[in-house]
Amino acid sequence: MSATAAGRDIPGIYHKAGSLRSERRWAMWTAYVSLIIAAIIFLAPPFYMLVTSFKTNAEIADYSLNPWLIRSPTFEHYAAILSNPIFIRFFINSCIVTACVVVLTMVISVLAAFALARMRFWGSQVLATGVFLTYLVPDTLLFIPLYQIVGGLGLLNSVWGLVLVYPTLTVPFCTWIMIGYFASIPKELDEAALIDGANWMQMLLKIFVPVAMPGIIAATIFAFTVSWAAFVYPTAFVTTAEQMPLTIGVVSQLVRGDTFAWGQIMAGALMAALPPVIIYAFLMDYYIAGLTAGATKG
């Protein structure tokens, strides 16, 4: 773009070789400068949260100091938050909800994706399209009727209410990308399995699941991140602190009163954000594969 525009006016043949090299160097510079600026801006908020979480309350309240630096680091906020039983409760709730939802999602979507990808049956095409359409339905469109439905089942203010509704967030996308992964397995593989004497369940469990493992990992990561980060449903359906998962718990219970305990809020938020970040750090390639699969597969 701006870097390469220089190539348009051709000054003369002698100039060419030198200009090509300088053009390339110029492009490199633009690239690195853009990336560095982007990295600074993208990482500033989490960095600032980290800095704040290690500051003493006195330091946080001191206007005169550079807020981006720490003078006397302290673990007091982390100690406080970890000894706060309600925070531990949030954490356990999040774990219960996420674990249940991930297992449910994977069972539902792997079974359905296998049937949709391999066992052509009446309406399978329509259903596959339907799956994609439900994926496009945002949670904020249906949370009010769902609030009534969950309320009618007596599951408001309960983690089980969340386990019931979270699959609407995870199942469609996971099914969609699993259809894509399963469809990419060569057809001869199931025919070989069929001749080898496998029934449908054996074919799924012994052939498809192991072969599509990268897809299964990507879908599991997706289900995990989405259930861990879900915000609309718990905000709407859970008002008692005891049953809150981490996201809404940190936002609503740690932020209260007039004087905000910023250090503790930041420590809590960071610890709540830690599990998805750790998963991302270790399984980045699967994470990104899952992210881009939605538009490029299926």
Partner: protein, 366 residues
């Protein structure tokens, strides 16, 4: 071990497209039968119907005397080798070969014995612990065959197993397959589009075209006595030459007269067969190897004709010369020492004992 019978097999797809149009075929126990034909001729569909991977629209397939139309693939006691091998990528070679037996709940010791034996036959014992990814094309091919052998099925089915290999490996694996068949003697149905593969492997070759069987027979028979124009043109490489001609009788002897007036005498042995067709416009068929120059020929019944080469292809052990005569492409196999030149008329000899006459109205060889 078993015979396989196809009786009036039809495969129709939606919209009345018939891929296989009522074929009959009896395959004997221990026999190696090759289905060959151009792509879309129905050979793969036929094989897949034997395997149970395609439903049979009409007719009956019997394996070992029992009709299997309604039996799912796993209970037909067959094994299949696929074009892309279809090895399970997450399993070791050993597990790939053992999978079918494991699913059938064979005892561990028996599975182990069979896998080791098959690995020995195929010479892949050192590869047993590897994953398919770590194998070369030829090795994968062997594993795919091993997976079939361990099952000890009634029938082996091969679906173009060599077409993913490079030319050199293909020849090597061809020999390998033949050797394995000589060892295990299992009834085999083999599908290919390559007529050389068909000729070299088969006890009997089945030539298919457009959903029907053109001819069934041992390789030599198909080569020397093709039943139809299609078979005559399909078997043999380079393909048989066809020239428009007329059968004429002059003083008791029969002659084939080409469009350019050249008259070739028909051997006496064929006179009785051809006499009813005197006066008809026919196709004169002769293979390139039977259309050659004086150097190679010291046989009876040679008929001379003169043609002007358009392209000369020296191959080393022989030279191919291409001509155009009366709208037909003609190829001749020459001795490499023959001085042939583009544009210079060449005197050729047709080996009339090897001639064919084809009725163009029904494409049957007379």
């Amino acid at each position: 071990m078993a015979q396989v019978s196809l009786r009036k097999i039809v495969k129709a797809y939606e919209g009345d497209v018939q891929a296989v149009k009522g074929i009959n075929l009896e395959i004997d126990d221990h026999e190696f039968v090759v289905l060959v034909g151009p792509s879309g001729c129905g050979k793969s569909t036929t094989l897949r119907m034997i395997a149970g991977l395609e439903e049979i629209t009409d007719g009956e397939i019997a394996i070992g005397g029992a009709v299997v139309n309604d039996i799912p693939p796993r209970d037909r006691d067959i094994a299949m080798v696929f074009q892309n091998y279809a090895l399970y990528p997450h399993m070791s070679v050993y597990d790939n070969m053992a999978f079918g037996l494991t699913l059938r709940k064979f005892p561990k010791a028996e599975i182990d014995k069979r896998v080791k034996e098959a690995a020995r036959i195929l010479d892949i014992t050192p590869l047993l612990e590897r994953k398919p990814k770590a194998l070369s094309g030829g090795q994968r091919q062997r594993v795919a065959m091993g997976r079939a052998i361990v099952r000890d099925p009634k029938v082996f089915l091969f679906d173009e197993p060599l077409s993913n290999l490079d030319a050199k490996l293909r020849v090597q694996m061809r020999t390998e397959i033949k050797k394995v068949h000589q060892t295990v003697r299992t009834t085999t149905v083999y599908v290919t589009h390559d007529q050389v593969e068909a000729m070299t492997l088969a006890d009997r070759v089945v030539v298919m075209n457009q959903g029907i069987i053109e001819q069934v027979g041992p390789p030599q028979e198909l080569y020397h006595h093709p039943a139809t124009k299609f078979v005559a043109g399909f078997i043999g490489s380079p393909a048989m030459n066809f020239m428009p001609a007329r059968l004429e009788e002059a003083s008791g002897a029969l002659n084939v007269t080409l469009a350019n007036g050249t008259s070739l005498p028909v051997p006496d042995s064929r006179s009785a067969r051809y006499r009813p067709h005197v006066g008809k416009a026919l196709l004169f068929g002769i293979r390139p190897e039977h259309l050659t120059d004086e150097k190679t020929m010291d046989k009876d019944n040679l008929a001379p004709l003169s043609l002007t080469p358009e392209v000369i292809e020296p191959m080393g052990m022989e030279t191919l010369a291409h001509f155009r005569q009366d709208g037909a492409e003609i190829t001749a196999r020459l001795d490499p020492a023959t001085p042939a030149e583009v544009g210079v008329p060449l005197r050729l000899l047709a080996h009339m004992d090897q001639m064919h006459l084809i009725d163009p109205t029904n494409d049957k060889v007379l």
